[in-house]
Amino acid sequence: MNTQRTLSKRLWLQRYLLILTLPAVLWMVIFNYIPMYGVIIAFQEYTPFKGFIHSPWLGFDNFKELFADPTFRESLTNTFKISIAKLVFGFPAPIILSLLLNELAFKRFKRIVQSLTYLPYFVSWVLVVGFMYTLLDPETGVVSKLLVKLGIIGSDVMLMGDAHSFLSLVVITEIWKNVGWNSIIYLAAIAGIDPQLYEAAVVDGASRFRRVWHITLPSLKPTIIILLILSIGGLVNSNFDQMFLMQNSMTQDAANVLAVYSYKMGLVSGRFSYGTAIGLFQSLVAFVLMYAANYSSRKLTKESLF
């Protein structure tokens, strides 16, 4: 009785604070938690008329169909192929960039390069894909003309329509768009390294390369590991925007990743339950991967995200 009175009294005292906080809590319930509950339609035969609650149950039928579906298997392979390529080439890129930027003697030039390389992060994937169609046009594109001159491609190759070039284009544009922005966090970590370490190394006669190898990189290790765990968790999430926008009638098999397939099945073909099952599978794999990466990192390096 007493505690109840004090609780209501506290609530009343905090009424204005609650007015500020609760709208966003309600928003999360509607836009995050009800959709999370809505995942149950992966186990149903969802019909819009019956809704989340009254649609008939199917058990694991959608998943049985999924694992027998060749297009699903293809999208799973594509997802891993693209994500691993991005991880192998895209993950080290900002680390290398930050190390190179850090070696620049003119600080003003360094700042200019930094600012310029952040820019692509702020334009949309729509625009980036627009750039690609413009620059890689076989007849008018400046970049494809250059590649022909360098003998890298034949004269009438339409790169955007070439399924074999798709993976390279995905990785290159991903790096182009994000390398600068992703280097910020490493540059901040480098800026936080104690200068005395470098001074001592110079006294000991360590070369520049050795200073980077023995001081800078080890200091970056915690940052690198945290970001690596996050990247591994994101392995199945292969950037919907980029894949969806880069695909066309000639590359759609190569661009068919889980996120795109889920969208196509669920919202284009209207098979809501089947599409949700694909999405749920993707989330589960992402969670398991992140958990495994975190666990092994904690065991091996004592660094972990949670």
């Binding site: 966003a24 928003w27 750039f131 008018t140 110079v202 809501f272």
Partner: protein, 292 residues
């Protein structure tokens, strides 16, 4: 330090590094430069290709075609409206939540924070989300579908929370003694001293509103086009531009014009404001990374 870089290998590395970084700048900027010069070239002439460094036949025809297009003007107005309104409302809404849970005395604070953090790791995926917005909230083809679902962002909330927590407590406490309530303190004391973080969050929101095409594709239909969505439609039918051109009722050259000029128009606001606001963008990463 100086001694090492004066050695032969040190200097040649420095030279190579500068060249590499210059190359990176060119690779970053050239695509922007290329579409600008091509967009200012006569469209028929541009179809011959070979525009590399400057326009060959200067013309503003591309822009004339775009600004004559009613759908495009409509999209322009919608995009500007959602950017302004969406940014202002999202900053306030997310900021209010962040301020609330920055107060240790708030009942349920840990639970609300946990709720927010959970959404960073778990989501229902796109289809249940679509069903909630379209079938249950009936927001399809309603302008509010651009505003309400973007009111809150958990990453922005955490950046703001970190900022509010670091504010000195004294001012708020003395205002409380003077009888000001939490609402007044938030709006009249806290918001004015939080301009740096508000600017950062406003910019993040503005960029994401300006760049959005996905919600327009899902929920906007033909009634509520955004610039990026139109650009997306032009680009995704690029492999057969002529087909699109006949759909829209003009020649293939005009479809290419439309694409180039729209690309430039949608990008210029970002490119031009970028140098002035860049420090605010970076600030957000710094505040955010302290936490995460």
């Amino acid at each position: 330090m100086i001694k090492a870089s004066q050695s032969w290998s040190g200097r040649s590395f420095d030279t190579l590094n500068v060249i590499l970084m210059l190359g990176l700048c060119i690779v970053t900027l050239y695509p922007f430069y290329n579409i600008v010069i091509t967009s200012f070239n006569d469209p028929t002439d541009a179809a011959r290709g070979g525009i590399t460094f400057w326009p060959r036949v200067f013309s503003v025809d591309n822009y004339r075609i775009v600004f004559r297009d009613e759908n495009m003007l409509h999209a322009f107005i919608i995009t500007i409206a959602r950017t302004l309104l969406g940014t202002a409302t999202a900053v306030l809404f997310t900021g209010a939540f962040a301020y609330g849970i920055s107060k240790t005395e708030l009942i349920g604070r840990r639970f609300f924070l946990m709720m927010a953090i959970m959404t960073m790791y778990f989501s229902g995926g796109i289809i249940p989300y679509y069903l909630v917005v379209a079938k249950y909230l009936h927001l399809k083809e309603d302008f509010l579908v651009y505003i309400i679902p973007n009111l809150f962002n958990v990453f922005n909330a955490i950046i703001m929370l970190t900022f509010f927590r670091a504010l000195p407590k004294e001012i708020e406490e003395s205002a409380k003694i003077d009888g000001a309530n939490d609402l007044r303190i938030f709006f009249q004391l806290v918001l004015p001293v939080s301009k740096p973080v508000l600017a950062t969050i406003a910019l993040y929101n503005a960029v994401s509103h300006w760049n959005s095409w996905y919600d327009a594709m899902l929920f906007g239909g033909d009634k509520l086009p955004t610039l990026q969505q139109i650009l997306m439609q032009i680009i995704s039918s690029n492999s057969n531009v002529s087909q699109l051109a006949s759909q829209l009722g003009f020649g293939a050259v005009s479809a290419a014009s439309l694409k180039l000029a729209t690309m430039v128009i949608t990008t210029l606001p970002i490119v031009f404001t970028y140098p002035f606001v860049q420090k605010y963008f970076v600030q957000g990463v710094m505040i955010g990374s302290v936490k995460g």
